[in-house]
Symmetry: C2
């Protein structure tokens, strides 16, 4: 495991945090592999990307048979620090309830790999990374990437690690899209697949919300046509608005009502003004402000675009079932009752296609009022059912439990 020393105090100046973030784009605190120009990545956009690099983190130990590797795929603004401290924010891993010793994805038993996505900004090649041709950040010169490109890059990492078949590929939201793409692109390399709070295609409404976010970033004059790095600018206000709008979609009406209601923030009465009178306003502003220090605005454009472009059935003549035909993979599909960004109906579309393809599939809908974010939170039913599914799959795969024995 990589050092978990925080490079920036969480409450430190935003300048420092941002400097750290900028440095992480090329020189991540995590492990990384650099692929040369002779090992270029062929992208869906029709271009070759090389040299390029992938940043990743690992937890646990790969067994001698190389059968216990679990790939965790992260969501839109996630990173490789799934179970260890984030070097920019100093916060614990984003899924440390799920991944770690004794956790459902038990690092005493499995070898866990998590890589920053292509197009991201935490060490895998993205628009904030240095373009080898110029030495300056790629910006919008980087070809637009897709979920399939992300998965291709991860497959190169898995090759490099000498792993033939992953025991499991697991992820929520955009991570779940990658899981589905993995199962479709490399069925023989995926023993089990766990797409959580995800969908096989991005809906019209979700594209709409992403478009609002992108327009907010691009409307900021400091975005400068994507060339803010070289001009010493930062479209922080635009990115903050984008994050605020997106953040609402991660929650639920019920959760917001329970958490904030119409409570006022540090005041007894409304101010008859445009300050943050309500707690929900103050909370959203905070979400926006903290986000801009850790995430590259152009990366936000690229990664949202990758999600928008995702439509797995379209790659298989419009038939999602065809994407999974003769699949040897065991699937575990999960949704949450109050998730309106990736509602249960989207997961059921996947389950139906898997059934039509005669694949092995389990489906769990978790009762929760926490919206899409539920997959990142402490949801006992999620942990219990994922642990159960993985234990069954591990038995079938012959992976011994910690301390020996099956």
């Amino acid at each position: 495991m990589t050092s978990t020393t925080s490079k920036a105090d969480e409450s430190g100046s935003e300048g420092v945090t941002r400097l750290v973030a900028q440095n992480e784009a090329d020189n991540p605190s995590s492990k990384k592999i650099v692929f040369g120009a002779d090992q270029a990545l062929a992208l869906d956009a029709g271009e070759e990307l090389g040299p390029w690099q992938i940043a990743y983190e690992t937890y646990g130990t790969l067994n001698a048979e190389r059968t216990n590797a679990v790939l965790v795929c992260h969501a839109l603004t996630g990173d490789q620090y799934v179970a260890s401290q984030n070097p920019i924010t100093g916060k614990p891993g984003w899924w440390s309830h799920m991944v770690g010793p004794g956790r459902p994805v038990d690092t005493d038993k499995y070898f866990v790999i998590c890589a920053n996505v292509l197009g991201g900004c935490l060490g895998t090649t993205g628009p904030a990374s240095a373009n080898p041709a110029t030495g300056k950040p790629w910006g919008l010169d980087l070809p637009v990437v897709t979920i399939r490109d992300m998965v291709r890059s991860q497959a190169r990492l898995i090759d490099h690690l000498g792993i033939d078949t992953l025991f499991a590929v697991i992820g929520g939201s955009m991570g779940g899209m990658q899981v589905l793409q993995w199962a479709a692109s490399y069925p023989e390399r995926v023993f089990s697949a766990l797409p959580i709070a995800a969908a096989a295609r991005h809906s019209s409404q979700n594209i709409a919300f992403h478009e609002v976010g992108r327009q907010a970033v691009m409307a900021d004059p400091n975005w400068a046509g994507g060339a803010y790095h070289e001009k010493g600018l930062r479209p922080s206000k635009g990115l903050a608005v984008a994050r605020m709008a997106a953040h609402i979609t991660y929650l639920s009406d019920a959760a917001l009502h329970r958490k904030f209601g119409r409570n006022l923030q540090d005041r007894e009465a409304i101010s008859f003004g445009f300050d943050a009178d309500f707690q929900i306003e103050s909370y959203l502003r905070h979400q926006g402000m903290t986000f801009v220090d850790r995430f590259d605005p152009n990366s936000y454009l690229y990664v949202t675009r990758a999600m928008d472009y995702f439509d797995l059935a379209a790659d298989y003549g419009g038939s999602l079932a065809r994407a999974f035909l003769h699949s040897p993979t065991r699937f575990f599909v999960m949704s949450f009752t109050s998730d309106w960004l990736f509602p249960t109906v989207e997961s059921k579309v996947v389950v139906k296609a898997l059934n039509a393809a005669a694949a092995n599939v389990s489906f769990v809908e978790v009762e929760s009022d926490r919206g899409h974010d539920a997959f990142l939170l402490d949801e006992p039913e999620m942990f219990r059912t994922i642990r159960g599914f993985l234990t069954g799959a591990a038995n079938a795969r012959g992976i011994p439990a910690p301390g020996g024995g099956l």
Copy 2:
């Protein structure tokens, strides 16, 4: 009825449209009443507003008994041109399916009044109006107004027109909030009240969406702290982003899927770029762009704030039923199944309070997949039930049908 000649070609240059819009703020194409400093309006913010003016439109004829007046209250970005051409956009009245000769709100039978709201930008005093003290636009010097202030201003208009009791007050969304406020503030002056797709308080999630919109406007450097008028600027990009985000909330996932799905805009394949590849993106951008020419950015802040502040029960010791105690008004509450901005549960809260107050109430939930916008669209069940309710109420009130007889 006022002349319906369009002052700007709908496809005309945005400069011209904007000039017309700016002029309408002080010199509306509709009727208007100017109240002097001696007729100031007492605002919830604790300040007196005067001189001030209210712009309104009327349709039909007030009967000799003055019993057939219907007040229509408009929504966030609506105006007084409920059933006649909008002078800025050249488009037909925003509710011309509902209001007009032979329509459910029949102008052959009723005398219909619709006023621009306080804080608006179509002729009633708002931040774009000239501040009498300076001759320049009020901007943020205008006190923040509330839904109750809007209703107070309308009551002054009704006084001026010599109408004691309104036969009906009707409106959707923010218009419905005004309807509820009318019934609470002036029960003896409201024979029947029809709040449609509304709520007795703005929810946490709705405040959140409004806050995103306001932040988008205020993040635009051209907003200039609200002083864009005098600086010859216009925060168009910020306001367009605000409108785009809001517009998503007016529709429904199902409607977007049916209308746009993942269809591409004027192209055969995705472009691997950030142009509007998808129809939904193109549609949203269009919504944003056309909005900025007709609406004042500061007005957007004021009117969204008024909605956020609305919490009728809070004015009655936390008991919504108390707001309607001993009410002589006949209520007709309507919601739409796919409306997630003002979901049915919010209407049911109102109905429950009315029942607890032993008020006379009918409730209809209309089956529609068109989301919140349904109340503005061609929804036969809405028209049929509202026509039926109004006819019954008119009979009870002794308003003759067109052509004589009850």
